[in-house]
């Protein structure tokens, strides 16, 4: 029989859909839960998605419900701008050290926006994957939770910072904020730090860094989003004209021993979704999907069929060898069509690289992981949830997170 747990609190690391779900499921089963998020607001990768496959519904819809659940639940505490730097101990009795970076905006911020009005400098818009810029005092996005502004560290110590501070009628700006540390004693730790896009710059043959009209799948999500840098219009990065001939390249890094040896699972379906984005915007648009194998598991096969029924979407079983700049500056995709044996060189308005997912953070304690950096099993250590355990789609992440919540409940209840 295991010793009684010293703490009944559950620590959830990562405020994406996995972490949010794990935290809520545990809290709604009666646990005290602390949710730690590195960024300024919750939602993680899904908050930056335009829509979900196969229903083409908006992730913010589910997030809104989850945020309402969080607001209603007194057992769940959220810390943003925070990271876990150390974890010691074991199930029933963990000690975790948390560091909170300065946000320079206190909780009494009313999100009135006066600070942004006076901010003069702009910083890269992280929420839009740097596709645009935002004022140095900004709301991460319209759906942000907590609904609270952030001050870019760049301006904290500047005269601009002073004027921003002066503009805040409720005195919510604190330019002297310093990183703070605090320790938590918890009975279980759920590790839900999710994923980051595989760096497209590593795929030198695809010239992502050199060609403006070669973008990644996550950037495509922002281009298609109503609150994105182009207000939802899918435009070429080079000249701002509509992209009507688009190539979607699968396995850009995934299934590749030189990059990500595993399959990232979601890219095929995400690309079909992207094909729909383009087709919805232009009835005459042409979309070519380059693939090795189309991986539309279970009922998602229906989504594949839906796209197959569209004559304007072509399917090429081919891993493109390289992308070259065409005479007119358009990216030219080169390779061999393995079914026709034809060697092609096809120009496009826009090329979208379906870059895969890689785990974004490693637990700061001894943890069983596979060679790829995914958390496996949880005997005696942290409990992996969502994409921290492997490439999963949203449903499977929530499924995994709910399972992880049970693990936590078991650890603190026994």
């Amino acid at each position: 029989m295991n010793p009684k747990p010293q703490s009944q609190t559950v620590l959830v690391v990562g405020g994406g859909i996995g972490g949010i779900s794990a935290a809520l499921e545990a809290a709604e089963t009666g646990c005290e839960v602390v949710l730690i998020e590195k960024g300024p607001s919750l939602g993680g990768r899904v908050a930056a998605l335009n829509r979900y496959f196969p229903k083409m519904c908006h992730p913010t819809c589910g997030l809104e419900i989850n945020f309402q659940r969080i607001k209603r639940n007194p057992r769940l505490k959220v810390f943003t701008m925070s990271e876990v730097t150390a974890i010691t101990g074991g199930p029933g009795n963990f000690k975790a050290t948390i560091v909170t970076r300065p946000r320079y905006v206190k909780p009494n911020c009313t999100a009135c926006g006066d600070c942004a009005k006076v901010a003069t400098s702009e910083v890269a818009d992280a929420f839009n994957y740097g596709l645009g810029t935002v004022k140095a005092a900004y709301l991460p996005h319209a759906m942000a939770f907590p609904m609270r502004y952030v001050l870019a560290p760049e301006v904290a110590g500047t005269p601009e910072g002073q004027s921003i501070k002066a503009a805040c009628k409720v005195g919510a700006i604190d330019l002297d904020e310093q990183p703070t540390h605090f320790d938590l004693s918890v009975g279980a730790v759920i590790w839900a730090t999710g994923w980051q896009p595989y760096p497209a710059t590593n795929l030198t043959a695809y010239r992502y860094d050199a060609l403006a009209d070669v973008i990644t799948n996550v950037e495509m999500e922002r281009l298609a989003a109503h609150d994105g840098p182009t207000k939802g219009q899918i435009l070429r990065r080079s000249d701002g004209t509509p992209a009507k001939k688009v190539a979607l390249i699968q396995c850009a890094g995934s299934r590749d021993l030189n990059h990500l040896p595993y399959c990232s699972r979601i890219c095929c379906l995400a690309s079909m979704k992207h094909a729909l984005y383009v087709r919805e915007q232009h009835p005459d648009a042409q979309v070519d999907i380059y693939y090795i194998d189309i991986r539309a598991h279970d009922k998602l096969e229906a989504f594949y069929r839906k796209l197959k029924a569209d004559g304007q979407v072509r399917w090429l079983k081919s891993k493109p060898a390289r992308i070259e700049p065409g005479a007119d500056g358009r990216p030219v995709v080169c390779g061999e069509n393995t079914l026709t044996r034809e060697v092609y060189a096809e120009p496009y308005d826009l090329v979208v690289l379906a870059t895969g997912m890689q785990p974004s953070a490693k637990p700061p304690m001894e943890t069983a992981m596979d060679d790829y950096g995914f958390v496996v099993g949880h005997e005696g250590g942290v409990i992996g949830a969502g994409v921290a355990t492997g490439p999963l789609d949203v449903s499977m992440s929530v499924q995994s997170a709910t399972a992880a919540a049970l693990g936590a409940v078991q650890a603190v209840r026994r």
């Binding site: 913010t60 819809c61 009494n108 009135c112 598991h297 279970d298």
Partner: protein, 743 residues
């Protein structure tokens, strides 16, 4: 203690500059005679909050109405121990969406307060339903890998389990398998079957009561109070149910075109698994096969058989191929596939099979001939020619899986409205090449639910008992009953184990909440529940039929009876009731109707039309908030009434609005039909349905049908909705003022 409503008006965030606060106070004082009316420069600040707190503690106020920002923000600041709070959205939906210092903006703000103050008069603190004993035992149906995992995990969480298995022994489909697809790094070697150890664990566990050769003959009651009757006659009280009935292989006798039945050496992957388990794989002539071909998608991804992908067949064939190749490296093993599906880390297993020398042929297996040895004719897409693959000693059909969402051996029963979603067809009409017949599961119900809406657990069009929501995979239309494993979605053993844990969590969660009289997802913790005034009830049955969750049954006398812990508090019943006799303590047609009537309707000569917008609070309402955040402007003639779900929109509300002089009514709700996005399954669909019947009423009132319309709104419509509203206002303007004005 009698209700004392207090008005707290914020002047922060520009409210003080944009609005005439004094005039707002006057509404509270002159019209509603509120005992306490206070204003503050920043209500959400410590000082402002302390102000409200003090009044509550002093008993000067019992119900604060806060005129400030949206109820979606500052919820933590405006939370007070055991006190309800009402919010009037004067920021996002008034001053951020309408010009400052404008007469119409001011009128809007005042009406917002009138609605809130009126709501306060109708608001009662909900008393949770906690009658009698609540059970904490879990019923797990199905003794396969999913069910065994569920039982074992539930006990670890401190719950007793009743495990019901139809057959004589535990183990299910995976019983007897020696090796399974690897789930542990480095994901290259077939792993030992975890089942035997798990069976032993469950059988040894005192907290798990196992009923073999048993089925569920009756499931009555509700979460926390399910009354279960088994085929052995025994009865049990359980708190929640985990359905883990798994799947069965697709009937191979339907695969004659792939040679099944033509020769004993054409077998299914399940039959091969049995041979592998016996440790000796032989063909009909007793020899070990030297040439073996696996045919993938045997039945799956085929409109004539199973339209979906069974997900696991690729990995299973890889495993079996590796086992054969390792047993004798001279064996020639082929896998004929169209798409190799090894998602995630399983890609490593694909490489392992290639390393073992297995040959992969991309193409369709057109026919299997039985002559001097077997020959599979493959349309080899990579060679670009039709290849006769043979002579082969053994052909293995990778047959897909069919969910056990029904009991094939039980007599079929009337399915009940909710069994399938006839309105949901995931397959595109455009695709002539792919027209799967709708799957109507054979056999009878498994749980035999004693519900008004039928004995079955609802399932999706493909026959799996899965959720239709991407972000809420355990959502169910039968509260307290959670499916897991292959009955929910085609999945392998590793995922099944995970899924079983998830389902158990949801089960123990509903047990905990039911005992508190609290709702589960999505209105988690809501203590209200519908109460039906039977004296007025006309036994029309609309509520019992329309409840998306089958929460309302009927007595012998055909009166509706609510099962509170099945209820999800959407209010669809209340919206359905033609005599408004269904109400929640804190939510009723009367309340909404009074709020509608609370609005000042200027007479027609003022040329200030009033349009009622009934908005779903999950999507349309937040979208309008975000429109405000983005400072999108729209007509100040609209009055927005948030509802839990459009399903709770009662037609009488529209009558009241129109007879009260509104010039138009707009319903804003989620997408219905295919890919419905209503979080109460069919609330917006019901609203649409009801609306189709209102034309008559309007005619009788001599009103134009165009005065009432429905707008499909998503949460991402913050830029679109303002335009839509302005267009509608223009339309209503052309129709002209409502003749009922001022009557």
């Amino acid at each position: 203690m009698d209700k004392k409503t207090g008005a707290y008006l914020c002047q922060g965030c520009g409210l003080g500059d944009a609005l005439d606060i004094a005039a707002l106070e006057k509404v509270a004082k002159a019209e509603f005679k509120l005992p306490v009316i206070k204003t503050h420069a920043c209500l959400c600040g410590d000082e402002g909050v302390a102000l409200i707190k003090a009044d509550l503690e002093a008993g000067a106020v019992t119900l604060p109405v806060i005129g400030a920002c949206s109820p979606r923000v500052m919820t933590d600041r405006f939370q007070f121990p055991n006190a309800q709070v009402l919010r009037a959205n004067l920021r996002e939906q008034v001053i951020w969406s309408h010009p400052a210092g404008d007469e119409d903006t001011q009128m809007l703000a005042e009406d917002m307060l009138r609605m809130a103050f009126t709501q306060a008069t109708k608001l009662n603190a909900p008393t949770p339903w906690k009658e009698g004993e609540f059970a904490t035992t879990l019923l797990v149906v199905g003794g396969g890998y999913a069910g065994l995992t569920a039982a074992n995990e539930a006990v670890k969480a401190g719950h007793d389990v009743l495990l019901v298995e139809k057959s004589a022994q535990l183990g299910g489909s995976a019983r007897g398998w020696t090796k399974v697809v690897p789930s542990d790094p480095p994901y290259r070697e077939p792993q030992d079957n975890p089942l035997p150890a798990l069976v032993a664990k469950v059988e040894a566990n005192k907290a798990i009561r196992v009923a073999r050769n048993a089925t569920v003959t009756k499931t009555a009651g509700m979460p926390g109070k399910f009354q279960i009757e088994l085929s052995d006659g025994s009865t049990h009280l359980v708190g929640a149910i985990v359905l883990a009935t798994g799947s069965r292989p697709y009937d191979a006798t339907k695969l004659g075109h792939l040679g099944y039945g033509a020769s004993p050496d054409v077998i299914t992957n399940v039959e091969l698994e049995i041979k592998l388990a016996s440790g000796k794989v032989t063909t009909k002539n007793g020899q070990a096969p030297k040439t073996v071909a696996f045919i993938q998608c045997a039945g799956s991804r085929d409109p004539a058989h199973l339209p979906y992908c069974s997900s696991v067949c690729c990995s299973v064939s890889l495993k079996q191929a590796i086992q054969l190749a390792k047993a004798d490296p001279q064996t020639m093993v082929y896998i004929v596939y169209e798409e190799m599906r090894t998602p995630g880390q399983a890609e490593e297993f694909y490489r392992a099979a290639q390393d073992a020398g297995v040959i992969f042929m991309k193409g369709k297996a057109n026919k299997v001939a039985n002559g001097a040895g077997l020959t599979v004719t493959v349309a080899d897409e990579l060679l670009g020619q039709e290849v006769p693959l043979g002579p082969l000693d053994l052909v293995v059909l990778a047959t897909g899986m069919v969910p056990n969402s029904t009991d094939v051996d039980a007599p079929a029963q009337e399915y009940g409205a909710e069994l399938l979603n006839p309105d949901i067809n995931p397959y595109p009409a455009a695709d002539e090449s792919y027209k799967p017949a709708p799957i109507v599961p054979t056999g009878g119900p498994i749980l035999n639910l004693q519900y008004r809406q039928g004995p079955h657990l609802p399932m999706l069009a493909d026959g799996f008992a899965d959720s239709h929501y991407i972000c809420f995979p355990y959502e169910t239309r039968r509260t307290g009953i959670y499916a897991c494993g292959p009955v929910r979605r085609p999945m392998d053993m590793a995922e099944t184990a995970d899924d079983a844990r998830g389902a158990v969590l949801k089960a123990i969660q509903v047990i905990a909440n039911a005992a508190e009289g609290a709702s589960v997802h999505p209105r988690v913790g809501d203590l209200s529940y519908p109460k039906i005034g039977l004296s007025a009830c006309t036994k029309c049955r609309r509520c019992t039929v329309e409840c998306p969750f089958g929460a309302i049954d009927e007595t012998e006398q055909d009166y509706p009876v609510v099962n509170p812990t099945r209820c999800r508090r959407c209010g669809t019943c209340m919206g359905a009731c033609p005599v408004r006799t269904i109400a929640f303590d804190n939510y009723s047609v009367d309340m909404l109707s009074s709020m509608v009537k609370a609005v000042n309707i200027p007479d027609e000569f003022d040329e200030k039309p009033r349009i009622l917008v009934i908005a779903c609070e999950n999507d349309a309402y937040p979208a309008l908030d975000m429109a405000g955040i983005a400072r999108h402007q729209y007509s100040a003639f609209v009055r927005i009434l948030p509802v839990r779900c459009l399903g709770s929109m009662n037609l009488l509300l529209i009558n009241d609005a129109l007879s009260g002089g509104y010039d138009g009514v707009v319903l804003m709700g989620c997408k219905p039909g295919d890919d419905y996005q209503c979080h109460f399954v069919k609330g917006s669909a019901m609203a649409k349905e009801r609306l189709s019947k209102i034309a008559e009423t309007l005619k009788s009132m001599q009103l134009e049908p165009e005065r009432v319309t429905m707008v499909e709104a998503s949460i991402a419509d913050s830029a679109r909705l303002p335009k839509v509203i302005d267009e509608l206002v223009a339309t209503f303007d052309t129709i002209g003022p409502n003749p009922f004005k001022g009557l």
